[in-house]
Symmetry: C2
Subunit: 318 residues, 2 copies
């Protein structure tokens, strides 16, 4: 088990908000991001550079990126589906951009309306765009392998295919790759195998993050498995915002509060103040009164005496 | 990671039913136990030998034990709070009895109205009772260390105290000890440390099981940690019956269906047919129409193609 610091990458403003009908007011998004950064969260995926017609919830992404850039020490990340999105992200000044490539080509065609070959062209064009930039303005470019653990359309996904696509994305010029359990199909054994295989293919440093969902309740078990394989960046969503369309009682993304509680109680530093993080939910509750907020730790509260010396974190001799 | 077979010990008919007001009809309990055994569950804690005044929900425990004994291959377990309960359990023919000792003495006094010294006396008297029996009729006797990971009254619990009490229970004549996260305070690092320490004290074979709650969402992550430390028996409750009084949306015990999905998808044999197990929920839904049934896997359904060859379990070369 690594005891290195773990980076929590908050994806609620992107993955959470794109999953609900309600459009969160721009000012509430800014307040959310500010408050979560103040609680110690160091990376936030603030939106997606997609056409506003497709996702009106994220139409203000450029403005939200600009807001994020005013917060000292915050890495401002954004999703980009194609070259056009990357151009807009660069214009807005995002520190990090992620292009999702669905390992399931069926899903890729249904979701992005693109074959793998077409996505590769976008990636190559984005790399060319980035290489023309002043290095000080060049965002980090991640290739996100979605449906890496299974697909609701194709079912099982070949691990060989995931490894080959990770290799291809690096060869095209991505700075790193990530693995996404878009469908909540992953299990800890599969996750460990796949992380090991992809790391062996692209190099340890080029697979730092996983994006997990909690669709079947295994989200935190998979997060633990990822930690044990040396993964250092974990995506999660405050209050599990957005839920899971297939499971009425379930969050979609793993819940940031529960993930931080797990890491914190294990003595793994995240730099996040859990008490302050729990307070940020009030902003969501006020801005999205009709959306359910998820999270076991927020519902049950922190253990008695939590945060004082005790059995959590590094054990105290008694 | 062990690939030995894992024993799932279903505790819903005891821990689940004692946590709800509704009294499940005896015939429904029998149907539940029969159906779950048919789905492949090999150990069920069917009730508790406590005074009916205290827990009227479990007043029919002797009859339920008798029913369980008619099911070939099923280990019939019951909780006993004291010598009187053990006598009744022996009379009924239970294969296994568990006496809970709360590591938190404050909790022990509030819950069982007994100091540790008074519980030790009960344990010694039970051992004497068992030693007088024909060995063929002697049930397995487990000392269950509850509140082992923290207490809602005392807060942090000293790991030294857990280890010392495990040792004491073995010295008094228990056949084995178990660790219970009664309060849902455990985290994977703490669980691994404590399992290692208790095994070092009492011997690997004498700590085979843990009893986990999902109060803060870490239940399956803790189960994974337990597996990695060689724990081979995991308690869980079908549909997370009984819920958690502190967290309206949360199951109390970890949910049997989600636990079996995790193990099954990892390729760890439990002998349980997940499809049949999911069907057993119908008995609960019919008998307890006003009780919420929990579980991520039941809500979201099994992955597409699940159970055919795929990425689950042992990977298929592709």
């Amino acid at each position: 088990m690594t005891t290195d610091q773990i980076l929590i990458s908050e994806v609620g403003p992107r993955d959470g908000l794109q999953s609900i009908q309600t459009i969160m007011p721009t000012e509430a998004k800014k307040a959310w991001i500010t408050a979560e950064a103040k609680a110690g969260v160091k990376e936030i995926e603030v939106g997606s550079f997609v056409p506003p017609k497709l996702l009106p919830q994220l139409a203000d992404t450029a403005e939200i990126v600009a807001h994020g850039l005013t917060i000292p020490g915050l890495t401002v990340a954004a999703l980009v589906p194609n070259l056009k999105g990357a151009e807009n992200a660069v214009k807005a000044g995002a520190h990090k951009i992620t292009l999702p490539l669905s390992v399931s080509e069926t899903h890729s065609q249904a979701n992005l309306n693109k074959t793998h070959a077409q996505v590769f062209t976008e990636v190559a064009n984005i790399v060319a765009l980035l290489n023309d930039l002043d290095p000080s303005k060049r965002p980090q470019f991640e290739g996100g392998l979605s449906t890496a653990f299974g697909c609701t359309m194709e079912g099982a996904i070949s691990e060989d295919r995931v490894v080959a696509l990770a290799s291809k994305m690096m060869a095209l010029g991505c700075d790193e790759v990530g693995l996404s359990d878009t469908t909540g199909y992953a299990n800890p054994a599969q996750l460990k195998r796949l992380v090991r295989r992809v790391k062996a293919e692209v190099g340890d440093a080029n697979l730092s993050g996983v994006h997990l969902h909690n669709t079947r309740g295994l989200g935190l078990a998979n997060a633990l498995a990822a930690l044990e394989e040396g993964i250092t960046t974990l995506d999660s969503s405050l209050a599990g915002l957005g839920g899971c369309p297939f499971a009425p009682g379930a969050s979609g993304n793993i819940v940031t509060e529960d993930l931080v509680f797990m890491l914190d109680s294990m003595g793994i530093a995240t730099g996040i103040d859990l008490g302050k993080l729990l307070e940020v939910r009030k902003i969501l509750a006020a801005a999205l009164p009709n959306e359910p907020l998820y999270g076991f730790t927020p519902d049950s509260g922190l253990p008695k005496g939590y945060g004082s010396e005790g059995p959590w974190g590094l054990p105290k001799a008694s």
